[in-house]
């Protein structure tokens, strides 16, 4: 199915402007209403006792001392929680059961073993300290390669092996391309576990009504209007008796799609005591046990090239450490195959993936969602090919870019790239970076014994996912082969002409209110500040997959425009009837309904509103009273996969592109990498709001700097203990590590979406890590360093130099 946007004719007034952010005043004054602000009468506070061991059998739990503590109302273990709630919903086909509170066995450090509800959080934590758990420690699986050994201890007895999923797919003639290649470059790569760390952790307030057998849940989850029935399933509440209310979300970066464990624990506590309970992860809970970690991959990759540098085929063999559970299946690889070939015309792809279980918290979704290491390995291969073949890295890219006249372009896996002009982006990036100046500076510093490096990466940002990416790597056995990712908006214009938009997606730290305001303003010609935007709860039917996969502006602008136009068209008809004209002759300009070309005759929004609400003329042709429309915008360009998966279909076709040029200085003695400058040219189609897009791109680059230089979950090699339990060990970049970022846009509008917008939420993080790796490489070229592992910590950089020199270490 495809919808093609009509060519842009009229000038736009609000779309494309840096309209001030509607969300700012309430956020800046602390009035947004986060989950921590929700207080219900009689509400208790939860705390969770977590396993200190990576892998252990729970021999016994004694909660009596905790229960005796004044202020403690209920203590639940895995077994007693199971009397109230069911296991987590699983999107995987494999029999891997996960409960929010472990029963009999803990499988990762930080897994919940008991939960308490008490009169305040202090008492709840005092009670946790008084719970006696006897563990029988089991061998911890830390190394994914070791975990693949058939003799390794199994993380789940229900599985035959810790390789929970394996699949190898060829698209195109991979073997033939390897055989005819002039050069095959090969690189391994290690992309370590990193995770999303929003300021606000995951949390919920659950209130169980034992008489109505109903539950109200406030939370900062995203999927409340997408999969509310899945929450009802865990909470053991009938779907039509569960009401989920969104709160403003203090950041997510992908980590709060479901937060099923938090909601399950809170719901179980509330059911057990019949009172409202709030449970908000603290930082220790969040770092250890939120499903906020992203990919943890080992690559063995090959790129086959013809003599002139034409890229022929790509082989990616991947071992991915998924941790102890597999709730979301291998969705991160569905994501990666949206753009494995990057912006290049690579004819064939082999994708061989093994998902391995170990004793770590399970993978969830984190900004980039699987395409992040994909961009890293591909750009590393391209740089390596340039080096090995003696072709300039810029020239090699130019020779292989998909050309502007080839769009929409179908890549070997079946996904479609909608539009782009990659060479124009590259040229402009080289220009704004002032590359020649930096080369001169590099030479000057090298004479002083200092090492400056210039990085370059040209990458894709797939955006607007379709649910098929979750399951198409399965054959027939996908448990939930969903094909919808809707987004909804309801617009109502009241009798006084006031416009209200009700949206299904929550405020996740991005700017849905601003975007909706701009779109409504565009369609009615009114000021965006006049539009009020409210968030729907799960009883309103505003189905919405919400933010994720850089989709929300694409989808929300589609939903909003659809609803706005339906209402506007009805208002045109109402106005026409009142003015005794043909609707064809009435137009809506600047919020006024007027006769085309006859400025004298017009009606205001309020006049039309009042007429539509109170003055039905009783004739059979009359419009029904009221001005309300709900528009659900489905994925604008989705095609299903073929049965044999030789074509995965179009599932992520709005493809943004960027060229990043970071400048770094490396101290080869201490291994310290300092960013000196950063240049970006970005193409995310029509820029809906430049200020918002800048925030997304810059924020994404900051996370990319973290990925390149500091972020990493580490586990003890022997005991599997989490060595990065707080933000003192797990390092996030601060403003001091971020250089000024020079950003420009090029716009190649998407032919598939409303106004031509594409996604911009993940691009910064999708490109920066590999760009910075290439900069470090460039800086350390005199030593012959090849970066194949992130993050480039000082110790790794010093080690890479020593390895390259062949030093004894």
């Amino acid at each position: 199915m495809s919808t093609v946007e009509e060519p842009r004719t009229e000038a736009r007034r609000w779309v494309g402007q840096s309209v001030p952010r509607k969300e700012d005043p309430k956020l800046l004054t602390g009035r947004a209403g986060f989950i921590g602000d929700v207080v219900l009468p009689g509400m208790l506070h939860g705390a969770v006792l977590r396993s200190p061991h990576a892998h252990a059998r729970i021999v016994s739990i004694d909660t009596s001392e905790a229960e005796a503590l004044p202020g403690v109302v209920v203590v639940l273990t895995g077994a007693t929680a199971a009397e109230h709630v069911d296991p987590m919903p699983a999107f995987c086909a494999e029999p891997v059961e996960q409960r929010a509170i472990a029963v009999e066995r803990v499988r990762y450090p930080g897994e919940a073993v008991a939960a308490v509800a008490a009169t305040d959080r202090y008492v709840a934590e005092d009670a946790c300290e008084r719970i006696r758990v006897e563990y029988e420690v089991l061998p911890a699986l830390v190394d994914p390669v070791a975990a693949m050994d058939p003799s390794a201890t199994r993380v789940h007895e229900t599985l035959d092996s810790n390789i929970v999923f394996h699949r190898s797919l060829d698209w195109g003639e991979v073997d033939a391309d390897l055989a005819r290649a002039h050069t095959v470059v090969r690189s391994s790569a290690r992309w370590h576990r990193m995770g999303a760390h929003p300021i606000e952790t995951a949390g919920a307030v659950a209130s169980w009504d034992p008489f109505g057998q109903s539950m109200t849940v406030y939370s900062n989850s995203n999927f409340i209007n997408f999969l509310p029935w899945a929450f009802a399933g865990i909470l053991r509440v009938s779907t039509n008796r569960l009401r989920m209310i969104p709160c403003a979300v203090g950041g997510s970066f992908g980590s709060k799609h479901l937060i099923t464990k938090v909601i399950s624990i809170t719901g179980a506590l509330s059911k057990a005591c019949g009172r409202p309970v709030q449970y908000l992860e603290d930082r220790a809970d969040n770092v250890a046990a939120n499903d906020n970690v992203g990919c943890d991959r080992i690559y063995d990759a090959e790129l086959a090239l013809a003599e002139d540098g034409e890229m022929l085929g790509l082989v990616l063999r991947i071992i991915d450490d998924y941790g102890a559970y597999f709730q979301f299946a291998h969705g991160q690889h569905g994501n990666a195959v949206a753009q494995p070939v990057g912006p290049y015309r690579i004819g064939s792809v082999r994708y061989d993936v093994s998902c391995v279980l170990t004793n770590k918290v399970q993978q969830g979704f984190f900004r980039g969602a699987g395409a992040d290491p994909g961009n890293f390995i591909l750009e590393r291969l391209v740089d390596k090919a340039a080096l090995e073949m003696g072709i300039d890295r810029v020239e090699l890219r130019r020779r292989n870019f998909v050309q502007p006249d080839q769009f929409p372009y179908k890549i070997p896996t079946g996904n479609i790239y909608d539009s782009g002009d990659y060479e124009a982006v590259l040229d402009r990036a080289l220009e704004i970076a002032g590359l020649d100046g930096w080369r001169t500076e590099q030479e000057r510093l090298r004479a002083e014994g200092r090492y400056l490096g210039i990085g370059l990466a040209t990458c894709q940002e797939r955006s607007g996912y379709n649910a098929s990416e979750w399951w198409f790597l399965y054959g027939d056995e996908a448990p939930l082969p969903a094909t919808s990712t809707p987004e909804s908006c309801k617009i109502d214009v009241d009798a006084m002409g006031g416009v209200r938009a009700t949206i299904g997606c929550p405020l996740w730290g991005n700017s849905p209110e601003t975007v909706v305001g701009q779109v409504v303003a565009e369609e009615f010609g009114i000021d965006p500040s006049a539009v009020s935007v409210v968030y729907a709860d799960s009883t309103s039917g505003a189905i919405s997959a919400g933010p994720g996969g850089s989709r929300v502006t694409i989808m929300l602008s589609g939903a909003t425009r659809g609803a706005a136009r339906t209402v506007r068209d009805k208002m045109v008809r109402v106005a026409a009837s009142a003015m005794e004209m043909d609707p064809e002759d009435v137009e809506c300009v600047d919020g006024v309904f007027r006769a085309k070309g006859v400025p004298g005759t017009s009606m205001t929004m309020a006049e039309v509103g009042m007429r539509a609400h109170l003055f039905n003329d009783g004739t059979s042709e009359a419009e029904s009273s009221g001005l309300v429309a709900v528009h659900t915008y489905d994925h604008p360009y989705f095609t299903p996969p073929t049965d044999d998966r030789s074509d995965l279909g179009a599932f992520y076709p709005m493809v943004s592109h960027a060229c990043h040029i970071p400048i770094v200085e490396v101290d080869p003695e201490t291994g310290e990498v300092t960013l000196r400058a950063y240049y970006v040219v970005n193409d995310c189609g029509t820029v809906m709001n430049p200020a918002l897009v800048e925030g997304q791109v810059v924020g994404g680059i900051v996370l990319g700097i973290g990925a390149a230089l500091m972020e990493e979950y580490r586990y003890g090699a022997d005991d599997g203990a989490l060595e990065t339990p707080t933000l003192r060990e797990y390092l996030l970049p601060s403003m001091h590590e971020v250089p000024e970022i020079v950003l420009e846009h090029l716009e190649t509008p998407s032919p598939f979406t409303t106004y031509g917008v594409k996604g911009a939420g993940e691009g910064g993080r999708l490109v920066a890590p590999t760009a910075i790796a290439s900069a470090v490489d460039d800086a350390l070229r005199p030593f012959g360093v090849w970066v194949d592992e992130l993050p480039m910590t000082p110790e790794r950089v010093v080690g890479m130099i020593a390895d390259a020199r062949g030093d004894q270490r």
Partner: protein
């Protein structure tokens, strides 16, 4: 991340504070700037029954010189903030190493609360200020209800987060003898991010005689051993040198015999490597500053 129940005491006199420590011993903890203690309590890594807040005790905020002109000493009382020390003209003039090391501790808001003495008493093996105090031949002034004693910094630090302080004692001040003659100092460190605790840091004080040769030298490291340490082997090798090249050579032994505590920010081997690199840099800069006071960066 909520602390276990505790009692809070806010003594208004030093004796009152010392009485509380005498009474509660190990169950009590002094609260100075709270920049480490509060975090540890929130994580329940320490759960004192009584917290003795010394911030209202008069007289502990002394910062100044005392002694006759022959041998003057810079004193910093127990509630002198790191930020105050860093910005103090007297510290800049008489113990610039303390200012330079202090400016590398955390971020300004943390330093506005954290105290110099608190950092010394906490004895984090990675912290800057204990290493600086060692390089400055600093003294730790200790009081209990019963007695008063002065401990050389080198005898004060006994292990990771361990000192020779008895449970009924507190530190009332640190003293730094003021150097005379042509002296330069430097503090260099590697941090993972701006404001983080160093993976490793090196403090150097170099005095130069009339002949242009090194006549006095102190080198101290943080992050390189189980406690902040002096490096006598390097000091001995540098004494009498007049050529910066000698410093690099001398620094090669900076990590001999040390037992760095590995962490996710650096293995023991990497810390040893850094100890050598940073020792050389600190010495070169300190020497350059001693010989040409305008020199401020690594030579």
């Amino acid at each position: 991340m909520k602390p276990a129940p505790f009692e809070y005491a806010g003594p208004r006199e030093l004796d009152e504070a010392l009485d509380l420590l005498a009474e509660h011993g190990d169950d009590a903890r002094v609260l100075a700037g709270g920049q480490s203690l509060v975090r540890l309590m929130n994580a329940r890594q320490v759960s004192p029954a009584v917290v003795v807040d010394i911030n209202r005790v008069p007289g502990l905020d002394t910062l100044g010189l005392f002694g006759d002109n022959g041998s003057s000493t810079l004193r910093l009382g127990a509630t002198v903030r790191q930020r105050t020390s860093e910005l103090s003209d007297e510290v800049a003039a008489h113990a610039p190493l303390l200012a330079e090391a202090g400016a590398q501790v955390a971020h300004a808001p943390v330093r506005a609360r954290g105290t110099v003495v608190g950092s010394v008493a906490f004895a984090d093996p990675s912290a800057e200020l204990p290493a600086a105090l060692l390089a400055l031949d600093g003294l730790v002034k200790v009081r209990s209800r019963a007695a008063e004693r002065t401990v050389a910094a080198d005898d004060f630090f006994t292990g990771p987060f361990r000192t020779s302080l008895a449970p009924d004692e507190m530190v009332v001040a640190v003293d730094v003898p003021v150097a005379t003659g042509r002296t330069g100092s430097a503090f260099v460190e590697l941090t993972r991010r701006h404001g983080d605790l160093p993976v490793c840091g090196a403090a150097a004080v170099v005095g130069v005689g009339d002949d242009g040769r090194v006549s006095h030298v102190r080198v101290a490291l943080c992050g390189a051993d189980e406690r902040p340490v002096r490096v006598p082997a390097v000091e001995a090798a540098v004494l009498g040198a007049d050529d910066p090249a000698a410093f690099t050579e001398a620094a090669a032994v900076a990590a001999d015999g040390t037992s760095p505590i590995p962490s996710c920010h650096g293995s023991a081997d990497f810390r040893r490597h850094l100890a050598r690199v940073l020792t050389a840099r600190a010495l070169r800069t300190a020497f350059a500053r001693a010989t040409s006071p305008k020199e401020t960066t690594d030579a």
